[in-house]
Subunit: 162 residues, 2 copies
């Protein structure tokens, strides 16, 4: 477990190697670099063939530096993080604000921070602040998620990041 | 073009065969049936291996009828619809409320309805009501999206639904 300080907020960063009980303020993270193959695979799964993701010239015509990773693919880091640590979690809601472009090859860190936890029948309703950073500092996606967790015990993720 | 009436609202339903100019109230739709293969492909692209999507017993243990389609995969219908009719569209935001489970094999219709359109430099900032229905009537995902469109001319989608 790593302790760090944020302005006016002390948070515990639970790595995937930690087995612990989730508390408000805790952060779970995963780093990922999206490849051209990831983008193609996601294009097929989603049928989203927007040329911005596959055609460098089309992306540059709109003012981007190169092909973009689908915003919804980058945002998939949030349910990925939640479900890898809480297998059987059920997604309730997600808001997403796409603030800056994510290019193929960018180093992205997804972060979910528990903000509210309450018992819901035999499960837990958990609210998370959900954010993605590029190169560890630039906020590229901001939002919130709510999920029903079977337990607050943080499992070690079986599937690690790329 | 098909005309239909909704309570207190007349809307134009623009099919993928229509070439028209988008106006507030217009609806664009796509139907899709998510297969086990789609779910596996999405699991690989997103690294989201939540057992609820692949393990019928795990899904039934939580009270579901069978393996669920990832909510974010179902929600990918929204950028898919928008980008197939407006190639080069840039996603700005998306909110998602997952109201009912979507099972592998369910017939899902994604619907985006333009609610606000305004010029933004040399592009158009478009706000959409975004909804998915199961079997044409049960609202399974509700939310809103904002996208920057290069034009308001509705192109025929090159990639059709499954």
């Amino acid at each position: 477990m790593v302790l760090r300080s944020l302005p006016s907020l002390s948070v515990r960063c639970l790595s995937s190697a930690t087995r612990n009980v989730l508390k408000p303020g805790d952060i779970l993270r995963k780093a990922r670099l999206f490849t051209e193959e990831d983008v193609l695979q996601y294009s097929k799964a989603s049928c989203d063939f927007n040329p911005l993701h596959t055609d460098a010239a089309a992306a540059k015509n709109v003012g981007f530096e190169g092909p973009l990773v689908h915003g919804m693919l980058v945002a998939s880091l949030f349910p990925h993080i939640i479900s890898s640590h809480f297998p059987g979690a059920v997604y309730v809601s997600q808001s997403l604000s796409f603030k800056f472009p994510v290019y193929i090859g960018d180093q992205i860190t997804g972060e979910v921070q528990a903000t509210n936890l309450r018992v819901n029948k035999n499960r837990y309703l958990a609210k998370f602040k959900t954010r993605c950073f590029k190169n560890g500092e630039l906020l590229v996606i901001d939002g919130e998620a709510v999920a029903l967790l079977p337990t607050l015990t943080v499992e070690q993720g079986q599937h690690e990041e790329h």
